[in-house]
């Protein structure tokens, strides 16, 4: 208890010191990868830059990159809180328990945890509906494939990733009934060597479309080398690989959310919330569909994007069965968020098993 008290006093003293010094709001960012990964962490850092741009002198941002999940994350966040951070964004699922531990010690500091599910009075969670982007991606993939084999580089068998696979599959199948998914699990978010190997394996197995749920551009490079293979930017636009192999992308757009939450801390209106925004709110964006995609396919994909944005269409709309054939959604029925957040099954038609 002593340390907790000590920490709290120190934080309080610092908090007062910083507010007395200047009305600068200090915002910390904890990244799981390097800011130059070109994907996940890169986009979070773009969000940080948006905060700097929006508030200029009124805000000070700090970040630490490549922080392993576990005790190291806890130490880095404690250190940020000790140094007077008012708001801390922890940008990886695996930081969840560390965020909870540190948040308990620093009740005055606000925490924002990406893609997690544990909240507290001073901990909010936020995530993006990436699966909406997957629907658009699946549509393009289903139309573009000639071998009818789509390769998928999956990271970890968690609901977020499984949702993405299902959404992409449903929409590829809708436009191309012969389509088949080959899925490789790499158990990493960022490992260019492993990702490149996975892409090569999939291409050797006949895949001419590669989808990825990992953060590096290595699969793009592998596809470019192989030729006649298309890819999609993941988390970031990865436009340097356009127009081929990268034909489009799903972009995480964290800036507006980060600016909004920082503003709330400045105004003293910050509250613990769970945010799950998608294309409509602008948290998920579809990157430019390149000239390599025929006009009618592009139009179809954009129409789907606009329908999702307008709230007219939900990517998980029945009739849909689970992989084992049991009915999941009835005709016209839409999946509820609870099921989606805990999704641990494939939809009918996907082959293979989710690793257990």
């Amino acid at each position: 208890m002593k340390l907790t008290k000590l920490l709290a006093t120190a934080a309080l003293a610092l908090g007062m010191a910083t507010t007395a010094m200047a009305d600068k709001t200090k915002v910390g960012f904890v990244y799981v990868g390097p800011v130059g990964d070109g994907g996940w962490t890169y986009e979070h850092d773009q969000g940080r830059k948006a905060v700097v741009e929006a508030f200029g002198d009124k805000v000070e941002t700090v970040y630490v990159e490549s922080v392993p999940e576990g005790p190291d994350a806890e130490r880095v966040m404690t250190q940020m809180a000790l140094n007077g951070a008012d708001l801390i964004f922890a940008t990886s699922f695996g930081y969840m328990d560390a965020v909870q531990n540190v948040a308990k010690k620093f009740p005055k500091v606000k925490f924002e945890h990406a893609t997690g599910y544990k909240t507290a009075p001073n901990v909010s969670v936020y995530s993006a509906r990436f699966y909406e982007g997957r629907a658009v991606q699946g549509t393009i993939a289903g139309r573009m494939t000639k071998s009818n084999i789509i390769g998928y580089i999956a990271s970890f068998p968690i609901p977020e990733v499984i949702r993405g696979i299902n959404s992409a599959y449903i929409h590829a199948k809708k436009v191309n009934p012969d389509v088949e998914f080959k899925i490789v699990w790499v158990y990493t978010w960022f490992d260019p060597a492993k990702e490149a190997d996975a892409a090569k394996t999939l291409i050797e197995q006949g895949a001419d479309v590669i989808l990825q749920h990992t953060d590096s551009t290595a699969p793009q490079a592998a596809a470019q080398k192989a030729g006649n293979v298309i890819t999609f930017g993941q988390a970031s636009d990865m436009a340097e690989y356009a127009p081929l192999p990268r034909v489009s992308s799903i972009i995480d757009n964290w800036g507006p959310y980060y600016v909004r939450r920082t503003k709330a801390v400045m105004d003293g209106t910050w509250e613990s919330v769970s945010t799950w925004d998608g294309i409509r709110e602008g948290m998920v964006k579809i990157g430019e569909i390149s000239s390599a995609v025929p006009g009618d396919v592009k139009a179809e994909a954009e129409a789907l994007r606009d329908a999702i944005a307008a709230g007219e269409y939900h990517p998980f709309t029945g009739p849909l069965n689970k992989q084992d054939g049991t009915p999941w959604l009835k005709e016209g029925e839409v999946a509820d968020d609870g099921t989606l957040l805990g999704m641990n099954f494939y939809v009918e038609g996907i082959e293979g098993e989710i690793p257990q």
Binding site: M1, K2, L3, T4, L6, L7, A10, G28, P34, V35, V62, Y63, V64, E65, S66, V67, P68, E69, G70, P71, D72, E74, R75, V76, T78, Q79, M80, L82, N83, F93, G94, D97, N101, Y117, F156, P157, I158, P159, Y187, L341, G342, M343, N344, P355, Q356
Partner: protein
């Protein structure tokens, strides 16, 4: 001309001085690197080495040094015994993982029962897990003459796959909404390796590391087995004549280093980390190899080296967030430390002679 001349005896003075010189050289060249990156080098070096020890928030960082250093020291002590005897266990990372899995598995098997004997059982299981994993390369070497470097290293990747499988299957938290990772042992008092004094960073792993240091010192200096270990490394032929049995020595050294790595894993998973997760291992098993050599394979040297390594990690994180130094620069900095150590090591066995070429 500058020539290198082999010393008849390794220099005592230099073997103590080189680590210090290496650290100083790292500071100088690291400072140049930071300056090139446009940061104030003095400020950066001060942040890395001074801030965690004597800075404003050192009351928090000092205990963290123990938390970060303990697993490094514990593993490195075990490795150093083998390294001295010329037995190369490179797979401590895998043994660390297995210790954590087996130890946490035993603890979770009792959940939610509360009893005093659960944690001691976990400790035994953790050591056993690491021991068994190290016995695979040891037995293969003794029976079939396989290379223990390759086998132990490859087993790290097997252990990582097992770790992923455990996080997603057998040990997955049933109340975790389908997300990977076990229950958090920090919330299970009987299995929690908590700070012995709240906020001191002193958990059982730190105590174990201290005991290991003393045990290794006594073993090497006062015990026949320790003498055999040193003899086998320094004069293998003489060791053979002295009746040292290489297979026994291999089984002993591999087993002990595996058990210590397993213990480190168990103390980590039940304490600072709290849960088995896919990314549970963060490279302690590999960093410990550096620590073992940085500490000159001497128990007390390893203790200091472990703390120094922990210092660069913690100070490095502070430098990142306070000065905006990129993580890669910090890693280069740590790499320099090992590089300079190995480079200056030359002076222990060789002397530099400045004079005309070909004179000697």
């Amino acid at each position: 001309m500058i020539a290198l001349e082999k010393r008849p005896q390794p220099s005592q003075v230099w073997s103590v001085a080189t680590p210090v010189i290496a650290v100083l050289a790292t500071m100088v060249f690291g400072g140049i690197l930071f300056a090139v990156l446009g940061k104030n080098p003095v400020e950066a070096i001060r942040t890395i080495f001074w801030e965690p020890l004597f800075g404003e928030h050192s009351f928090y960082y000092r205990p963290q040094l123990l938390v970060k250093g303990a697993p490094l020291v514990l593993i490195a002590i075990g490795l150093s015994l083998g390294f001295r005897a010329g037995i190369w266990n490179i797979g401590a990372e895998g043994q660390y993982i297995m210790g954590a899995i087996v130890g946490a598995g035993v603890g979770l098997a009792f959940y939610p029962m509360e009893a005093w004997f659960i944690f001691p059982l976990m400790v035994i299981a953790g050591a056993l897990g690491g021991w068994v994993w190290a016995m695979i390369p040891a037995v293969l070497k003794v029976r079939f003459g396989t290379n223990e470097i390759l086998v132990s290293l490859m087993l790290v990747y097997v252990a990582e796959q097992l770790l992923a499988s455990m996080s997603l299957g057998l040990l997955k938290n049933p109340e975790g909404y389908g997300f990977p990772g076990s229950r958090n042992l920090q919330q299970y008092p009987s299995a929690h390796n908590a700070d012995l004094i709240e906020g001191s960073g002193m958990h059982w792993g730190v105590v174990a590391a201290m005991i290991a240091v003393i045990f290794a010192y006594v073993l090497l200096n006062r015990h026949m087995r320790g003498f055999h270990i040193r003899l086998a490394g320094e004069a293998p032929r003489a060791a053979r004549f002295a009746g040292v049995s290489p297979p026994r020595l291999i089984l002993f050294c591999m087993g002990l280093s595996g058990a210590l790595a397993g213990l480190a894993g168990l103390f980590e998973v039940s304490g600072p980390s709290g849960q088995i997760s896919i990314d549970f291992n963060v490279g302690y098993g590999f960093t410990a190899i550096i620590v073992a050599f940085l500490g000159r394979l001497h128990p007390f040297g390893i203790l200091l080296a472990g703390l120094l390594m922990a210092l660069t990690y913690i100070g490095g994180d502070i430098a990142q967030s306070q000065m905006g130094l990129p993580a890669a620069a910090i890693q280069v900095f740590q790499g320099m430390l090992l590089f300079f150590l190995l480079a200056f090591d030359l002076l222990t066995n060789y002397r530099i002679r400045i004079g005309k070429a070909g004179v000697a």
